[in-house]
């Protein structure tokens, strides 16, 4: 089962290394990881998605708690958090296919970020699942390049970690 771990850490050199080191030591694969500053510039939030057994996630959460650079750790409950990922996708496009691509983009709320005689670059922000389906819809047009940011997430409601 995929799980989302949200970690608040001190914003300084080497912290990310220390955290990912905890995963690699246990041969855990990190499915996605996103880091960015919070409202407080001395604190960063790391969102980690892992697909491992419950026991392993619990163990990693405990180990993360021991690091002095880590301020708070929380495994976000399924269905009780908002998660988003940004994707930028470049697809082959010509006069014949352009309109079809625009139609699919409007269904998914994707924006056209760039256009050339032979290609279109679109950006879309959504849940990872919906990004996957969007990518599938684009595939028949021949995808040239894709980049995804990794998931960021916050829990629902007024609660915070």
């Amino acid at each position: 089962m995929k799980q989302t771990i949200s970690v608040l850490v001190e914003n300084r050199a080497g912290v990310l290394n220390r955290i990912t080191g905890l995963f690699s030591r246990r041969a855990f694969n990190i499915e996605s990881l996103a880091v960015g500053p919070t409202d407080d510039p001395t604190i960063s939030r790391i969102t980690i998605i892992v697909d491992n057994g419950n026991n392993m996630v619990e163990q990693v959460e405990k180990q993360l708690n021991k690091l002095i650079e880590v301020i708070k750790v929380r495994t976000l409950e399924e269905h009780h958090h908002i998660s988003r990922e940004l994707m930028i996708l470049k697809v082959t496009a010509n006069a014949k296919t352009r309109q079809d691509i625009v139609t699919i983009c409007s269904i998914y709320g994707a924006k056209i970020a760039d256009i050339s005689p032979t290609s279109m670059t679109v950006e879309v922000s959504d849940t990872p699942d919906r990004l996957d389906t969007f990518q599938e819809m684009m595939r028949p047009f021949s995808i040239l390049e894709v980049v995804r940011t990794g998931v960021i997430a916050l829990q629902k409601g007024s609660g915070k970690i």
């Binding site: 050199a13 080497g14 708690n65 708070k72």
Partner: protein, 567 residues
């Protein structure tokens, strides 16, 4: 007040009441050593032969005295030579602050001479690793480092100063704050808030639940782990065991946490555990493990471990709960404080029948044959001829198991051994640290010939500082424990384990200006020990043993705990 950055480093050591440092100088740490020169009346520096020896010595000092050990080394090879020592301290939760210096900011990351990413290397083997790039941060980081090393589950911390930070013209604001007060200063408050460095409150309800479980138990077993030793909870543990009237199994790291000759001791537990302890694990209905992480050398097969029992774990580190063995109940807190709470009003139990079933299984068989030197007899001879409070430092392998099984340890810090990391060559360094920290006590170093060869250059440190350490080398001309596995599991194919080579350890001791002795029979062992005790310098006793001696009993890795491969 403005003082030199290096002066602030020394003052911060004094804040922590540090009076002894182990280390080895070099290019990038010159500024620190130059400052140390001015502080030589307040801080004693012990110069070893090699950084690894300094690391083990600081670790041994910490284990034997209960204080935080301190070790200095230079950048590059100095720092990498420390790593085995740092990992050894980490696996056995020993509080040591390692201080290294790195190249200056202008040379950082340019593959400069003697440059290595020390904090990166130390990351997985320290509780915290600090890189200091700004001299003004020195007081905060020094205070945090000591707090992190000593609090909660203890362990090593690395501070790496860039050389420019230690430059003589670096002046910083500094105010001396004794450690009892500086743990509440501003930089600590954020650390405390996020890490509860102060003792966590122990949940009274958890303690009450355990009392109920104790009241229902018919066949309780206690495990004395390293946490009892680290929190110096031996008195509390003893009271608890006596009130419980339950057998006590002792782990390798728990040696010294409960008296070795106490009538309730069932002996060592695990791979080379006594039949009494291992059978007790299998048959008990309540297992209370205090400061024990159920390593793979204790809970060899987690699935069948204590299968009839309710398992209770008392540990200061939440991450240890349910890590290796799933428990039925746990209490988070330091062993000492949890036991204090438990002992309060705990009734006196009587488990005579269960004890009579388990404890007689303990008696080890000692061979009576005296013409042929055997390890149990050497240990008995050492025990009978040395003071009762003798500190024993061991290396790793057969001699380590024999020492732990046959010598008696009665207080924390009496046994110094590399349990978690299994570091060959640990013993002599640790013995040096222990002797420096306990000048009034006798320190014996027990080694195998393989281990002794790894760090015997530290004999020069023994000689120079006039430390009366006696190294007893169990010389069987082989890597005994590996040979034992080859004998039992690898069809007697002795691949690269025969050590039929020099040096002559007696001559080696003499070359270092120490006394050397050789014993080939039991009487000679006794004579050599008596002479070594009286000789006034460090000494090496070379005990010549048969290479096929085995550590008994033995359970193979991963097997159920009572499935003995050897009786």
């Amino acid at each position: 007040m403005k003082i030199r950055a290096t002066q602030a480093i020394m003052e911060c050591l004094l804040e922590q009441e540090v009076d002894t440092i182990f280390g080895y100088p070099g290019g990038t740490i010159l500024n620190l050593y130059d400052e140390l020169y001015h502080y030589s009346e307040k801080i004693t520096h012990v110069l070893t032969a090699h950084e690894q020896g300094a690391a083990h010595a600081a670790d041994g000092y910490a284990r034997a005295t209960g204080k935080v050990g301190v070790c200095f080394a230079t950048s590059g090879p100095g720092a990498t030579n420390l790593t085995t020592g740092i990992a050894t301290a980490y696996l056995d939760s020993s509080p040591v602050v390692f201080i290294t210096c790195n190249v200056g900011e202008n040379l950082l990351g340019k593959d400069s001479f003697q440059e290595v990413d020390s904090t990166g290397i130390a990351m997985p083997i320290t509780k915290a690793a600090f890189l200091v790039r700004d001299a003004q941060q020195i007081p905060d980081i020094m205070r945090q480092a000591f707090a992190v090393a000593a609090n909660g589950r203890p362990g090593p911390v690395l501070i790496d100063f860039l050389k420019n930070v230690t430059a003589p013209d670096q002046m910083i604001d500094y105010e001396f704050i004794p450690w009892r007060e500086n743990r509440s200063c501003a930089s600590m408050r954020s650390l405390n808030a996020s890490h509860q460095l102060k003792n966590t409150n122990i949940n009274q309800q958890d303690v009450d639940t355990l009392r109920e479980m104790i009241a229902e138990a018919k066949r309780p077993l206690l495990i004395c782990g390293g946490g009892v030793v680290r929190s110096r909870a031996h008195n509390e543990f003893r009271t608890f065991a006596e009130k419980m009237d339950a057998p006590v199994a002792i782990t390798v790291m728990g040696g010294g946490g409960f008296p070795g000759a106490h009538p309730l001791t069932s002996g060592m537990i695990g791979m080379h555990g006594s039949r009494a302890s291992n059978v007790a694990v299998d048959e008990c209905d309540l297992l209370i493990a205090v400061g024990c992480r159920f390593s793979d050398r204790v809970a060899l097969d987690p699935a069948t471990f204590a299968k009839q029992a309710k398992i209770v774990q008392i540990d200061i580190d939440r991450a240890e709960i349910d890590k290796n063995v799933l428990t039925d109940h746990h209490i988070i807190g330091s062993a000492r404080r949890v036991l204090e709470m438990l002992n309060e009003g705990l009734p006196q139990y009587d488990h005579t029948e269960w004890k009579q079933h388990i404890l007689p299984l303990r008696a080890p068989s000692v061979a009576a044959d005296s013409a042929h030197l055997n390890p149990q007899q050497i240990m008995e001879t050492i025990r009978l001829n040395t003071p009762e409070d003798t500190i024993v430092a061991t290396d790793v392998g057969q001699h380590q198991m024999w020492a732990i099984k046959h010598l008696h340890f009665n207080y924390p810090g009496q046994l110094l051994t590399s349990g978690g990391f299994g570091t060959m060559g640990f013993g002599l360094g640790a013995a040096i640290g222990a002797q420096v920290g306990n000048p009034g006590k006798r320190v014996i170093h027990i080694a195998g010939d393989g281990c002794f060869r790894m760090n015997c250059h530290e004999l020069c440190t023994v000689q120079h500082y006039n430390l009366p350490i006696i190294s007893v080398v169990f010389n069987n001309g082989t890597l005994g424990m590996v040979r034992q596995w080859q004998n039992l599991i690898y069809g007697s194919r002795f691949s690269q384990t025969t050590l039929d080579r020099g040096p002559d350890f007696v001559k080696l001791a003499e070359a270092y200006g120490l006394h050397g002795y050789r014993a080939t029979c039991l009487q000679e062992v006794e004579d050599c020990i008596r002479q070594a005790l009286a000789c006034g310098t460090g000494a090496v006793i070379d005990c010549v043993l048969d290479m096929d001696e085995m550590v008994r009993p033995m359970v193979a890795a991963g097997s159920p705990i009572t499935k003995f491969l050897l009786d």
